[in-house]
Amino acid sequence: MNEFMLIGGMAIVTFLIRYPVLAMSGRIKLSPQFLQVLAYVPPAVLTAIVVPAVLMPEGSLSLDHTNARLIGAIAAVLVGFWRKDLLLTIGVGMAVFLAWQGLLTLVAG
């Protein structure tokens, strides 16, 4: 593997996704309708990343108590709605996930 090519290539393509639209932004006029469409971008993108990561940790659907990610995610959603505190949501979700995973290891152990 050529590390220089790999990292250089990844860096260039990532930058060429992030920067050009901003570079041309002075000449771009986006319609209010289009900007309204973009308001749906964050929830759609973040959900598309999270759902498979949580429900398919090994590549196939896992919807029972043996999936510690699912248990951690449920805890995070509940705390998130209840307290609306981002740091608490992340902390509780992660703690429940790690504790559940530990329990599963003990039971299986």
Binding site: G8, A11, T14, L30, V45, L87, M94
Partner: protein, 237 residues
């Protein structure tokens, strides 16, 4: 994320600090993810300098995480770069959302904020840009949150490469779940109306169905399906 005091007197310095403060929970969420990236990178075949360079110059966590998995499985370099394009294509959508807010800035600012664009910095900055006050320094807030994210990512990569390596079985703890739980926390504030609920439902379901597509294409397919569903839901309401 919405904890900005509307009556605080805005200056570049106060905006930088407020931006860093606002992104703090997301930085905390990125810590385990960054450390596990560094830890796994060392075992994937990437060199110490290579892993640090990847965090310094690519600076896109999920694509870096996927890349080291592909390196470990012996995937060819062009395929890894292609996958990086697909996974990071969402940043194009973020950049478009930032156009109205950054278009008056100098090219230097656009370069900096473009290079440092992440899910987290975008989520925090867009809330600030959309606030009603007329502070001329909102881009400093964006800069503060971006810088904090970047410094933390570099530090965590380094910790993973050094300390993480010495912890037995660190890779099996599932610390990458920190990214999932962080993104869950970021999505929740968006759940305010029927159309967003539809967006989330369709995006999540499509992501599951399209998971088998090559190069992580399912991600963009699901995002576009979710956005389209949200717009349809909004118009038919």
């Amino acid at each position: 994320m919405d904890a900005v005091n509307p009556i605080f007197k805005s200056s570049p310095r106060s905006e930088v600090l407020a931006g860093a403060k606002a992104i703090f929970p997301l930085v905390v969420g990125a810590i385990p993810f960054g450390i596990i990236f560094g830890t796994l990178a060392a075992g994937s075949g990437l060199s110490f300098a290579g892993a640090l360079a990847m965090s310094a110059f690519v600076f896109a966590g999920s694509s870096q995480f996927i890349a080291i998995g592909l390196i470990a499985s012996g995937t060819a370099v062009p395929m890894i770069i292609l996958t990086t394009v697909v996974v990071n294509l969402r940043h194009l959508l973020y950049a478009m959302s930032l156009v109205p807010h950054l278009q008056k800035l100098s090219h230097f600012w656009k370069l900096l904020l473009g290079f440092w664009l992440t899910d987290e910095a975008f989520a925090v900055a867009i809330v600030r840009y959309d606030q009603q006050d007329t502070s001329p320094y909102k881009h400093w807030y964006h800069l503060g949150s971006s810088l904090f994210m970047y410094a933390n990512w570099m530090l965590c990569t380094f910790i993973g490469l050094t300390v993480g390596q010495r912890i037995p079985n660190a890779a099996s703890w599932g610390l990458d779940f920190a990214m999932s739980v962080t993104f869950i926390g970021m999505v929740i504030p968006y759940i305010k109306n029927y159309a967003t609920v539809i967006t989330i439902g369709v995006s999540g379901l499509t992501a599951l169905l399209a998971h088998g597509l090559p190069h992580q294409l399912g991600l963009m397919v699901a995002a576009v399906a979710g956005i389209a569903a949200g717009i349809i839901a909004q118009q038919t309401q």
